[in-house]
């Protein structure tokens, strides 16, 4: 179960996404929802990609989801699992799966968010098998 920890690159942050990255520092996964059409979108934008409304707002996600697909990168210097996780809120995001046995990762597996420090001073949302 013990994986050596990867060093995560610092994410690029801009004025549209700084709330997301402030959230990860606070241990929260923040999503953007449109107040006009009610749809959540990912990655977060100032303008809703469903209806072009600029009336969008943040909310905290449950942090729960399931693995949509994954690939184990065993040849990497520090092996890791890249994945797409579908959040309970309905959107799917790229992530890494941590605190897992590489051989037991499965499509459909329940996972929960956790956070890892990045180079610099940021925090990155990753997922681990749910208890």
């Amino acid at each position: 179960m013990s994986q050596p920890e990867r060093i995560y690159a610092e994410p690029m942050i801009n004025m549209e996404t700084e709330t997301y990255w402030q959230g990860t520092k606070d241990g929260k996964l923040m999503l953007k929802k449109c107040n006009a059409c009610g749809e959540t979108h990912f990655y977060p934008r100032a303008i809703c990609p469903h209806c072009f409304s600029d009336d969008t707002g943040w909310y905290e996600a449950s942090g729960k989801g399931t693995i949509y697909t994954y690939s184990v990168m065993r040849r990497a210097e520090i092996p890791f699992v890249i994945a797409y996780v579908t959040l309970d809120e309905g959107v799917t995001m790229m992530t890494n799966i941590v605190e897992c046995d590489f051989d037991s990762v499965e499509v459909g597996q329940a996972v929960e968010v956790t956070f890892r420090p990045t180079e610099g001073d940021q925090a990155l949302p990753v997922f681990r098998p749910a208890n």
Partner: protein
Amino acid sequence: MSRSSKAYIAGVYEHPTRKAVDKTIAQLHTEVAIGALKDAGLSKDDVDGYFCDGVAPGLGGLSMAEYMGLDLKYTDSTETGGSSYVVHVGHAMNAIAAGKCSVALITLAGRPRAEGVKSLGARSYGEDLPELGFEAPYSPVVANMYAMAARRHMYEFGTTSEQLAWIKVAASHHAQHNEHAMLRDVVTVEDVVNSPMVADPLHRLDCCVVSDGGGALIVVSPEIAKTLGDRCVKVLGQGEAIKHLNSGRFDLTHTGAVTSGPIAFAEAGVTPDDIDYASIYDSFTITVLETLEDLGFCAKGDGGKFVSDGNLISGSGKLPFNTDGGGLCNNHPGNRGSMTKVIEAVRQLRGEAHPAVQVPDCTLALAHGTGGQISTRMGSATVILGRNDA
């Protein structure tokens, strides 16, 4: 029957180099242009339209037009990754039909081997990419993006590594006859599944080669084609599409071919059953499998069965594909594969493929390009080509 066509491919050229240490990219662009013009029986001064991708040297086509000394009335540098050149064929056809130009030159050149670009390198498309912060820290590379599509396809449809391997096996059967191919050894399903795992579930032999080189196409008006003879090939239909992450609601089991294919087939007035030969972009084995399903050569989810048991091998299979060995065995110039897909389709329709892989009486052919990362942010483009008398 004789189908009408708004444009013809009159000339093609595939650069023979696979490692271009002693040539610049601009030089390679020009060498393939010369080759395709010679093949068409045309000269530089006949060219009035120029098409290149967004990574050709300079700003769009500006620098290359100057370098080659072209006198142009029409240019297009649409960039959709490896699918760009099939996009360009359609755009050239439309420009010709609109009377904007009559002889269109399309070029591709790249030298990733000479430049030492790693095949598994991290993507770097600029810091202003809006999605960058939400992907780059997780270390996506080309191979693991395609691997995740393969994994999901396996989960939903029971596709196996052995079935994917048949795609490489078929490509290798063809590549043995191509003196320029990088990988000419015929491989077995066991060879593929026992090759090192690159990005689970894709093995090394599920991946295409990395090569230098390039290619060029000359697309001309019907009036000019008449003067050039019956080696000209009809452009019967073309379709293109972009598929993306759709604000977080997407699947990895369909490609943009579900959109580009029907547009191309409808314009050509043909169906998948009519196609004698198919060039399918093969950056990875999974690329071919999903594309064949999405183009309608088999039902969604049946791709694994469809490609098995040599069904893609010329001479024995129902759908001969990539008879030059494709990206999986022959070459992948500049990490962009759809140029050579069109070139081999033209060879087949002219009866100029290697005799060992030539499809008898090849009348209708399809070439399909895939660009970007499969099913996430991707370009798809399909072109249907017909023999001069098709």
